[in-house]
């Protein structure tokens, strides 16, 4: 045995998946990153298996999953469980297998529908500024690293989805100010197309038109 890491010692991530406020795919990715960081990386299944799964799961979390990916992950996990030399990667493989067993729907949502039900996988969610809540304070706009937010003082801010990198900085800022920024999966909230004065947005009463998404 080359690698003698203790399975209890994966720093920074739960070795078992807990559903509350979490996403199974991003959990698996974090777990694998932690495992890779803490193993010696000398044997092929432990090293290449972990890296291969990381690559596949990263793709899944960004909407580039393939239908056969889950089978490959299962195959790799079983091989790691049987052949890896260290307890750390074996334990992680078993946890991922369990998560696939228990939360197959959630995995499939990512792979097939390209959705993250927990709204965690940033590539699979969009960010929106609710017109009825935005105070036009400019704080999110100033901090956006992509300059994807347009608006002016006392004008409702609007996120340009093409420019948004889904970093989440705006949502952190706004949650302490007016809580106007939300994440969305498949169903997007209605928001203004372009900045309009604060107080003039009527989300309701537009005949169900999803104005915010009309381009």
């Amino acid at each position: 045995m080359i690698c003698e890491k203790n399975a209890e010692a994966i720093a920074g991530v739960d070795i078992e998946f807990h559903k509350e406020n979490n996403c199974v795919v991003s959990w698996a990715l974090k777990l694998l990153e932690a495992v890779f960081a803490q193993t010696c990386g000398k044997t092929v299944f432990c090293r290449e298996g972990t890296l291969q799964m990381r690559k596949i799961i990263k793709d899944i979390s960004e909407g580039r999953g393939h239908s056969e990916d889950l089978d490959i992950i299962i195959e790799l996990c079983k091989a790691i469980k049987e052949m890896a030399d260290c307890e750390l990667s074996k334990k992680a493989a078993m946890s991922i297998l369990n998560s696939i067993d228990e939360y197959k729907d959630e995995w499939d949502a990512h792979i097939v529908r390209k959705r993250c039900p927990g709204l965690i996988c940033s590539r699979l969610v969009t960010f929106h500024i609710l017109g009825e809540k935005c105070s036009g304070c400019m704080q999110c706009l100033d901090k956006c690293p992509e300059q994807a937010i347009s608006g002016a003082k006392d004008m409702i801010h609007v996120i340009d989805q093409d420019q948004c990198s889904r970093c989440g900085i705006c949502i952190d800022i706004c949650s302490n100010v007016c809580g106007a920024i939300v994440k969305a999966g498949g169903v997007k909230p209605k928001t203004p197309d372009s900045p309009i004065p604060v107080g003039t947005w009527q989300a309701k009463g537009l005949g169900g038109l999803r104005k915010g998404l009309r381009k």
Partner: protein, 701 residues
């Protein structure tokens, strides 16, 4: 042998107790795929290709890390195992370039044979690539981490087999790779350039630089260029190692396996080995010649214990000339049981060793001692006998004749005044001064030529008392044919060198000589090998001297009565030392033109073999003189090994050397010699690493 029995794939196999299952299978001709296993390295079970199933044991086991036990029943090729191997291989290939044909290791790659055997491709998994820059900044070999599959053989070779500790596994957030401790170049991080890592790499990740290994016929020659470059094939790394270990007589025995003049060569060898030395690419070549001299000065004659002389064959051989070629041939012919007589024109033996090479470069006692070993072996030398025609020899009943007359005729350039009084040629000048005959030079000597012989003439003239010694030659300073050392030492001794001159005539004026020269702009040889010189306009001038010495090459002084075919410069035509006349052989400078002592010796060996065959022998003159030894593979760690500088010899100050013929270069002392010997990269150790057998080599695949 074979004290346990096991069954592998239904075949009953005998094995030794200390063997792993993999070793037992491979020894029995049963192939189990493997990649991280290498016969010279400890097994670690990383690649998982060698998995097997063992009856009564759970799961699968890596056969390289499982000891063979009596009665074991093993399966090597089940579906489960095949699946495991395929998946492992797919994983490795996912991080390896897909395209084999563009790889320099294509068709010489162990990984490629495994891909073939397992029928695996990288198509199913995600491709992982890390875009490592290809490292070409290290000497001798290229590191291309993109092609590395992390089998770890190089790390084990470096750390466990050699103990050099230059490379190890390295890891960052997204990848594992093999590298140096601080990520610097190998030379700065303990690498000893033994190249064991390159030898064991199963992929194109570590590979010898093309320019380093190209141009050789065999891999062994490419990897041991010192030995391959030695005309006599001396086993350089072996004797350098023995010197390092303090085994000087053993070292000399190794040298004596190929040449009968170790100390002579220690003084004056052209050291082709040093030009070949792979350490030159790291920083500077090992000072092999000086090491040889150091050892040969301390020889206690151990080599004689194993030196044998065959029973007499009754065949008689005459050798004409007692230079290094003739002496070497005579020596080996006597050892083959033949009766050999050397006929020497002069009153003492050695040829160019004695009358060409000045005494300050080669003390006469060295020549005398080494020649006495040859006469002690039974070679007879008849002095003061100039063989003018070969019939006189055949009437004496010789079965074979060897012409080894060298190139003792100096060339006088065909310019007006070249035969004026006071104009001499190199060979006559050196011969006379060597034999202690009085040579009147006057105070100003001008040597025409720029080779090593020209320097010999100039420096001898200086030592004979000439106050103004100068040289003039066609070549520019940078392109002079003399060795850089000669030029440097000559300049130190106050010799003035006039470069880029061509000579049109020699004149005699008021009791002194003048050489009319022009400055050379450029020169070249045309398609007919004719020299074309372009001079600088209006550059005609005269260099004055009391003595002018031509040092423009030497030709063979070949008596026409010998009746042997010859070509340009009277060089005797021969094929495998055989001339056009039956039973008449030729060797040395007289068949090659002026070369070097070590080439003459190498020729001497070749001619001895050829003549022995001609006389009915087997022509095998090789001998084992040094005791067998097993060099240690573990060379250990040494920081900044690659930066250790070549040891220089010290020379006596100029004023102490220019008025006498004593040797002026000081040989290495023991400490310096050991230090220098330690610089050797021991390239021969790599050749002791066995070649990996591939699946095609096994009976049961």
């Amino acid at each position: 042998m074979g004290n346990i029995k096991l069954t592998i794939d239904g075949i009953s196999v005998e094995a030794e107790k200390e063997m792993t299952v993999l070793q037992a299978a491979l020894a029995a001709g049963i192939y189990i795929p493997h990649l991280c296993h290498h016969p010279s390295l400890p097994d670690v079970g990383q690649c998982k290709l060698c998995v097997v199933e063992i009856a009564d044991r759970d799961g699968v086991q890596t056969s390289c890390t499982t000891m063979a036990e009596d009665g074991m029943v093993i399966k090597t090729k089940t579906d489960r195992l095949n699946h495991m191997r395929t998946l492992s291989m797919e994983l490795m290939l996912a991080a390896h370039p897909s395209e084999c044909t563009s790889c320099p290791k294509y068709l010489k790659c162990e990984l490629q044979t495994l891909i073939q055997y397992l029928g695996v491709s990288d198509a199913r998994l995600r491709k992982l690539s890390y875009n490592f820059p290809i490292e070409t900044g290290n000497p001798l070999f290229v590191r291309d981490m993109n092609r590395c599959i992390l089998c770890g053989r190089c790390v084990r070779a470096c750390r466990t087999l050699r103990g050099a500790e230059a490379i190890d596994y390295k890891k960052d957030n997204e990848k594992v790779y093999i590298g140096t401790e601080n990520g610097g170049l190998l030379a700065d991080e303990n690498c000893k350039f033994c190249c064991a890592c390159v030898e064991v790499c199963p992929t194109g990740a570590l590979r010898d630089k093309e320019e380093v290994v190209s141009g050789f016929n065999k891999a062994e020659e490419a990897l041991l260029p010192c030995k391959a470059s030695c005309p006599a094939g001396t086993d350089v790394p072996r004797y350098v190692r023995l010197i390092k270990e303090g085994k000087y007589s053993e070292a000399v025995a190794v040298i004596r396996e190929r040449v009968p003049f170790p100390l002579t060569l220690g003084y004056i060898c052209m050291h082709f080995c040093e030009s070949g030395c792979r350490r030159e690419a790291v920083n500077e070549a090992v000072s092999v010649k000086e090491l040889k001299k150091f050892a040969a000065m301390r020889d206690n004659g151990l080599w004689k214990e194993n030196s044998k002389i065959a029973p007499l064959t009754g065949k008689k051989v005459a050798v004409i000339g007692s230079g290094p070629a003739g002496l070497t041939s005579a020596y080996y012919l006597v050892k083959q049981g033949h009766d050999v007589t050397i006929y020497e024109k002069l009153s003492s033996p050695g040829g160019m060793l004695r009358v060409g090479i000045p005494e300050y470069r080669l003390p006469r006692s060295v020549i005398d001692n080494e020649i006495s070993e040859i006469t002690d072996a039974g070679v007879r030398i008849v002095y003061n006998t100039d063989i003018k025609d070969l019939n006189s020899l055949s009437s004496l009943g010789y079965d074979a004749v060897l012409i080894a007359i060298g190139t003792h005729k100096g060339v006088r350039l065909p310019i007006p005044g070249s035969d004026l009084k006071g104009v001499m040629v190199n060979t006559d000048f050196l011969l006379k001064s060597s034999l202690g005959k009085k040579v009147e030079t006057g105070s100003r000597v001008l040597v025409l030529g720029g080779g090593n012989v020209a320097f010999d003439c100039a420096r001898v003239a200086k030592r004979l008392g000439a106050s103004e010694v100068s040289m003039a030659c066609l070549e520019s300073r940078a392109n002079m044919t003399a060795s850089a050392e000669e030029v440097e030492q000559g300049l130190e001794e106050g010799i003035v060198i006039h470069n880029s001159r061509t000579f049109s005539k020699i004149i005699s004026e008021n009791g002194s000589l003048g050489v009319e020269c022009s400055e050379v702009d450029n020169f070249y040889f045309d398609d007919n090998r004719k020299l074309v010189i372009n001079t600088v306009p209006d550059s005609l001038h005269v260099l004055y001297a009391d003595t002018v010495i031509f040092a423009a090459g030497q030709i063979v002084d070949l008596p026409e009565e010998y009746g042997v075919e010859s070509g340009r410069a009277n060089i005797i035509k021969s094929e495998n030392y055989q001339t056009n006349k039956a039973g008449v052989f030729a060797v040395g400078d007289c068949i090659t033109g002026t070369t070097s002592v070590v080439q003459a010796i190498a020729g001497g060996r070749g001619a001895a073999a050829a003549i022995d065959k001609y006389l009915g022998g087997d022509g095998v003159i090789d001998e084992v003189l040094a005791p067998c030894e097993e060099p240690g593979a573990f060379i250990g760690k040494e920081e900044r090994f690659a930066h250790r500088e070549r040891k220089q010899i010290s020379c006596k100050p100029v004023e102490e050397r220019i008025n006498n013929f004593d040797e002026f270069e000081q040989a290495f002392d023991a400490e310096t010699a050991h230090c220098e010997a330690e610089r050797c990269l021991q390239c021969d150790l790599r050749l002791r690493i066995p070649k990996v057998k591939l699946w095609g080599d096994y009976a049961h695949k």
